[in-house]
Amino acid sequence: MKLKNVAAAGAIVLASALALTACSGSNNSGSSNSPKPSDTSSVDLSSLSGTITAGGSSAQANVQQAWTTAFTQQATGVKINYDKSQGSGGGVTNWLAGSYDFAGTDAALKPEQFTQAQTAPCGAAGALNIPVYLSGVGIIYKLPGDPKVKVTGQILAQIFAGKITSWNDPKLVAVNSGTTLPNLKISVVHRSDGSGTTANFTTYLSQIDPTDWTWAAGTAWPNNVGSGQQGGSGVVNTVEAGSGTIGYADQSSVGSATMADVQVGTSGSTFSTYSAAGATAAFAAAATDASQGAGDLTKKLDYTKITDASAYPIPLLSYDVLCKNFKDSTQGKLTAAYIGFIGSSEGQQVGAANAKAAPLPDSILAEIKTSLADVK
């Protein structure tokens, strides 16, 4: 606590020094043109105006761009700045500090963060986790001749743990009957930066094969296998530029890279490749309610429950987090209108058309609408 004061003192010393050089800085905190009050259930978008400042999950980078365009084309008075460079953790950190109106994050607020939000920035009413973006982690690879490869969860765990090191390993050959796999070293490519995609993928590995994948799930890549690359695009680039490479990436950054078919469940011969419908089916099967408070829509994904043949086994769910009670209620209305648009069927269609997202089930969309009605 004391140290914070020292930091403040240091900065104040600076502030006074800056007064020498900087003539003036206008007060830009939070004030925005006040839109006419309107009813959230059927917002007249064209009456809205102001600026929404947000940031977080880079998995949402493309979809937010699309949503922003679609939304601001109707709400012409609104500007939305979504900082995708922050990442999920940074988005939540900045949001907790009060810098953002909402944060995009690949993991719902942890219980302690949820409690922390009740002091700042939200007040006693607390925060809402709103699921907005459903996608999947794709397993991408590059082999000479581009054969279609199938993998099981166990094989994935062993490859990414460094236990399977060659493409013609008997285990890979066994599930890929009919495909000739080259005698090539496997070059694992993973993220070098902390990432929600990594958290999702390592959670999947640790749930599906805890004997081979002995590391805890987390945003940082835990072991020393393979080559680390910055960002989803770095992984995709490096996989594409190499030979015998394998990596993982969120659908929005996969591009034209070849994706492997992943086994559904832990046994059987059902393999599925990513599709929006597959992700939706997986979500329906895996998601259980883990609400942390009234209106909160935190979902828990249990990958082992995904057994339906039509489902894609590694779904990725991303949230937007916002306060129930904004300090500035016009800003609250504005933000709720935007999230409401995202959670509408039109918003989900926009995501599907522009970022390969899977539309959330209608039941979830109805829940989103109810939850957002309380935001003010």
Partner: protein, 367 residues
């Protein structure tokens, strides 16, 4: 030598403009102290909670800082990686940079040296993000065969050993990009300094029958020493603090390693680690990253301190003392004919004392 006090003694007149200017420049110097004090206080205050915290539980035991017992086991490899990568970059970049500066200032034909100088200045202006992109798309692929060859034939040498990289994201690739990045900085500054060498010194050496290289070694280098060191330190500063290019190119691991050609044994640098993990970190993890930034601060402090100490030790030739070599002002005048605004006033000022040539030896540090 007493010359340090000379300018003060000579400024007899003091007009208001003088006083204002003087207090302005003093004020700026004070302002720098204040800014740095602010940054230092900020860094220390932010870093302290993470340095003091228990890393085996809570925020620091998960996410981007997971798996370390305390701050020092986390920072140790990062400090090593920072120094090692900067060293590799400097080792490759600095000699070449000084070579180019020498080429432009003394070897290249007059007519093209201006163009070359401009080209290098231009390259000093290429922002680091571009070198990062260039590293990703061009240099990784280009260096792969060379790395594989050295690894296969000289793998016994610790630096070249290990499993060779298949992706090209190696410490060596990062070092090459660092070298290319610091090269124009060092070159533009050393070139300017080489050009400022008093021409009479050089002409005197040539007249005595020295070859070009001897002239450079005996007349140019001693004069330019402090400036060269400064230029190299600026380059080193950039190499130590380079963020995005390293983050984009190198496949990092937190360990102590000398290896240059592997995918998974490249020691991560502090700045790149901050850039990679900052976005995904929560408050305490960010504090830990700022703590590593504090260590970078300390590293550059020690490096600079050591460099100044060394240059101070290896002869009193460098730096400001060099600029006023003789106590006798006529000698001083004659020693330096660098074209000056005064030439217009006194066209013969510099050639008026040919006897000044004779005692050019006070320069000699090893005399």
């Amino acid at each position: 030598m007493t010359e340090s006090a000379a300018p003060r003694r000579m400024s007899a007149k003091a007009r208001p403009s003088d006083r204002i200017f003087r207090s302005l420049s003093t004020g700026s110097a004070v302002l720098i102290m204040v800014i740095l004090a602010g940054v230092a206080i900020f860094l220390i205050a932010k870093a302290a909670p993470a340095i003091a915290a228990d890393w085996t539980k809570g925020d620091l035991a998960s996410g981007t800082t997971a798996g370390h017992t305390d701050f020092w086991t986390y920072t140790g490899p990062l400090i090593w990686g920072t120094i090692w990568s900067a060293f590799i970059g400097l080792l490759m970049g600095a000699p070449v940079a000084i070579g180019i500066a020498l080429f432009i200032s003394h070897y290249a034909p007059r007519r093209i040296s201006g163009v070359l100088a401009y080209l290098v200045d231009l390259l000093a202006a290429v922002p680091s993000i571009i070198f990062g992109l260039w590293g990703i798309f061009t240099i990784r692929k280009f260096l792969l065969p060379f790395q594989e060859w050295l690894n296969a034939h000289a793998g016994w040498f610790p630096l070249f050993g290990g499993t060779p990289s298949t992706t090209g994201s190696t410490m060596f690739a990062g070092g090459v990009v660092l070298a290319v990045m610091i090269l124009p900085i060092i070159t533009s500054i050393t070139r300017e300094i080489f050009l400022q060498t008093p021409r009479l010194h050089e002409e005197a050496a040539l007249a005595l029958g020295a070859t070009k290289w001897e002239t450079v070694r005996l007349a140019v280098f001693p004069y330019a020493r402090s400036g060269m060191l400064s230029a190299i330190l600026l380059g080193l500063g950039r190499a130590l603090g380079e963020t995005m290019a390293i983050a984009m190119i190198m496949s990092p691991t937190l360990l102590f390693s000398l290896r240059l050609f592997t995918d998974n044994q490249n020691s991560q640098t502090i700045a790149a680690n901050i850039a990679l993990n900052f976005p995904e970190s929560n408050t305490l993890q960010r504090d830990a990253l700022i703590g590593t930034g504090l260590m970078l601060f300390v590293i550059s402090l020690i490096v600079n301190f050591a460099a100044r100490f060394i240059i101070g030790r290896t002869g009193k030739t460098g730096g400001s003392k060099k600029k006023v070599p003789a106590l006798n002002p006529t000698v001083a005048l004659a020693l330096d004919d660098a074209a000056s605004p005064l030439d217009a006033l006194h066209p013969h000022a510099s050639s008026a004392h040919p006897e000044g040539l004779k005692p050019s030896q006070p320069e000699g540090p090893r005399a």
